[in-house]
Symmetry: C2
Subunit: 232 residues, 2 copies
């Protein structure tokens, strides 16, 4: 009965994204150094998972490509689990074509060029030399793809020159919007429940007030519904 | 009433470790590269947390020094949260003197020599050069300390030559026992609920059958109770 009531509530809510396919990435990526060690970005996945859930609530058919997180799957979302940046790109490309792609994951920019097959021994040899190489830029790759979704949104975690860095990314990566959030010690909301973000588009900058990640997700999902509604 | 019944069950259970102070470490450590990136070892913290809980159930006064994990605090345990290896060592030293110390945490062997205060920018500069330096060896430091607890137990995650590596550690780190577990792809139980371990002491090697991490914890807690009972 509860399930039926919930289903009912869903079906009566406005569903402006019904019939739309949306891809969302979330969480960190783990880049192995050896079988036990890895490099990662700090990311709880809370913001990305909330956005996937909010889009599904508006009726979208959502695929969530997620790195390692400790979060329940959002309701009515198709979750694809990955670990590395290259696996994430592959899963995103497998999810095309779609109407919109929202890249929230904190993808590691670099990976170890040659991960060790066995655990690096500490004894005797001192600290290891690890050579890094650049990971694919998933946002830029999809932004420039000939299968580019109509709407492409990136997230940017910045500690300095937040808006200037985000505006540069908008151009370079062919995104329609960048959601910039401040992860400096001052703005520091990483891993927490709140977020303070700026929505940067060609039209300018919207400063959103500090709100919960769920509220950011709902507001962004509404914005996406309007964008996909325009001349869709 | 349920609480009362549980309390009652606790007080009626045998409490061979009543009055004993035991330190347990658990989880990974995170070693920052910059404000958003870090190096870590894979560790869910499940085994260390289970051991802390099992020792508390036997009546010990348990301090659990834990790196970043997504686990509930075990019942009746004093939890101290840390992030880096150096913070973990500091918290362990603050917990001395104690009767036994069980080092289950997957401590990162290296840290970035000079973490960046701002997020390293990807653009233009290519992959960064990161110089690593060795972290303190917490097990060896406490094993050789003049405040060494009477019983010191280390954990060793190995992919190769499991027993030989663990036996070498026993000597070098002045541990009374090493619990060795195989984290190679074959034995691979990291992050899972089961564990296959070997208990290595001067007396020899005990191969324990594959069992749940809770069962490993109970068996090890019983072993510790016997050891602390001998000539205590």
């Amino acid at each position: 009965e509860i399930v039926a009531a919930v289903e009912n509530a869903f079906s009566q809510a406005p569903q402006p994204l019904r019939g739309r396919r949306v891809l969302v990435t979330s969480g960190p990526t783990y880049e192995p150094i050896d079988p036990v060690r890895y490099i990662a970005n700090r990311s709880s996945g809370r913001q990305g998972h909330a956005i996937a859930g909010a889009l599904a609530q508006l009726g979208a058919e959502v695929t969530l490509v997620s790195g390692p997180v400790n979060l329940p799957d959002p309701a009515r979302v198709n979750v694809v689990r990955v670990e590395t940046a290259r696996e994430m790109l592959q899963a995103v490309e497998a999810g095309l074509p779609c109407d919109a792609a929202i890249f929230v994951a904190a993808v590691a920019d670099w990976r170890a060029a040659s991960p060790y097959a066995s655990k690096i021994k500490k004894e005797g040899s001192g600290a290891p030399t690890i050579t890094f190489e650049e990971n694919p830029d998933i946002l830029a790759t999809i932004g420039h793809s000939d299968r580019r979704p109509r709407l492409v949104v990136g997230f940017a975690a910045e500690t300095d020159n937040l808006l200037r860095n985000a505006q540069a990314k908008l151009e370079r990566k062919r995104a329609d919007a960048i959601v910039a959030n401040d992860v400096s010690a001052v703005g520091g909301v990483m891993g927490g429940l709140d977020n303070t973000v700026h929505l940067i588009t060609k039209a300018g900058v919207e400063d959103w007030p500090r709100m919960t990640k769920d509220e950011v997700a709902e507001r962004l999902a509404d914005w996406i519904a309007v964008k996909l509604g325009d001349g869709g």
